[in-house]
Symmetry: none
Subunit: 229 residues, 2 copies
């Protein structure tokens, strides 16, 4: 059965984003919006790991951390805005197992979660981050795009965008969704950025296979369409 991750975070956007990503990786996710509810949910669901924001309404992150640690060794990762080293030291002293500064990349969060679980003697949920469609292979573990066995050098943003689109084939994403989910919740750029990345991906994938396509949905966004068969 899937491991459960408890996210204690009052910013809805961040929480949702984390959930989206972690669920894609095979974790079950429960969200609590403040410290007290966090402790409550902790008892209720007995998660395998807790992601804990430091700044919280009500009981702050340190308090929750101490409370949980007083009764359990469940791994805790703190999320904080400050990048001061002393804050990290403080965190680890309070019993946290690791510490991530915002803004963070999903990729980093996942890596930390797996590292912490492994350290705690818990087997991390390891969905293979590798998608195959006909002659196309998107391998996020090796960070490699392969077409017909041949490697195609591809910059990180393009990889992540393609991976994101392809992990739910046929589903349309708006540009803003993609900016949120691939670029990060704190990204404030132009939506046309997405267009350019799609264009570059199309160049790379042109004529590779007729079984799938990076398709524009007019006035909505883009999707990775897998045809028939």
């Amino acid at each position: 059965m899937a491991k459960t991750v408890l996210i204690v975070e009052d910013d809805r956007n961040i929480a949702d984003l984390l959930r989206l990503y972690l669920e894609k990786e095979g974790y079950a996710v429960v969200i609590a919006p403040d410290g007290l509810k966090g402790v409550e949910k902790f008892h209720e669901v007995q998660p395998a790991l807790v992601l804990l924001d430091v700044m919280l309404p009500g009981m702050d992150g340190w308090g929750v951390c101490r409370t949980i640690r007083a009764e359990s060794k469940t791994p805790i990762i703190m999320l904080t805005a400050k990048s001061e080293t002393e804050d990290k030291v403080q965190g680890l002293k309070q019993g946290a197992d690791d510490y991530i500064t915002k803004p963070f990349e999903m990729k980093e969060v996942l890596a930390r979660i797996e590292a912490v679980l492994r350290r705690s003697g818990i087997e991390p949920e390891k969905a293979e981050r590798k998608l195959t469609f006909d002659k196309l292979v998107i391998d996020m573990d090796a960070f490699e795009l392969t077409v017909d066995g041949k490697k195609i050098p591809t910059p990180p943003k393009e990889m992540e965008l393609l991976y994101h689109l392809a992990s739910t084939p046929n589903r349309v994403y708006t540009r803003n969704q993609l900016l949120d989910e691939v670029w990060g919740f704190d990204y404030f750029g132009d939506t046309r950025t997405v267009d350019v990345h799609v264009k570059r991906l199309r160049e790379k994938l042109e004529g590779v296979s007729d079984k799938w396509e990076l398709k524009t949905v007019w006035s909505v966004g883009y999707k990775f369409e897998v045809t028939g068969r």
Copy 2:
């Protein structure tokens, strides 16, 4: 023949993880999910060592420990969630040889197992920590790097970094992951430290073989890439 380790542990995840790790190190592993089955398996397989969880359904760890100790001097290591010292004293009084608190690191478990076996006059099984790629040999037992049969003097950190990267070829590691896993999760230094070590490794390994490469994955991290094969 490989020594057998009996693991008495009801949490399937932990048991599996231990098995995975110990088998990689060259031990044969047998798992029992509760105290009674533990005693049973003990008679059946006559293990070289027993890893024994304290909290078990049916007969608890202490009971199993006493039962085994009553008839044999087979080394026993207790696994427990509590970190209380009194628990440890209790454990050793009941005849356990050592004691590990969860969450534990696999590395630590292995070290304890080897120490206990050695103390008991049994030769520990130790898998060769040695990787070979074409002309390159990374031997962590001798702590030696060999290229084409010739030894290349290499400082410890570089050895460990290379070994870590090479133990999962083609997989990308972020700098933070490497810092976590090679330097230790409580390391607070700069991520650029990794770059410098990679650079020095590259100097040593330059032009040695075209079958593998210490590769940069832009904006992500590094990997030990093995080509062809």
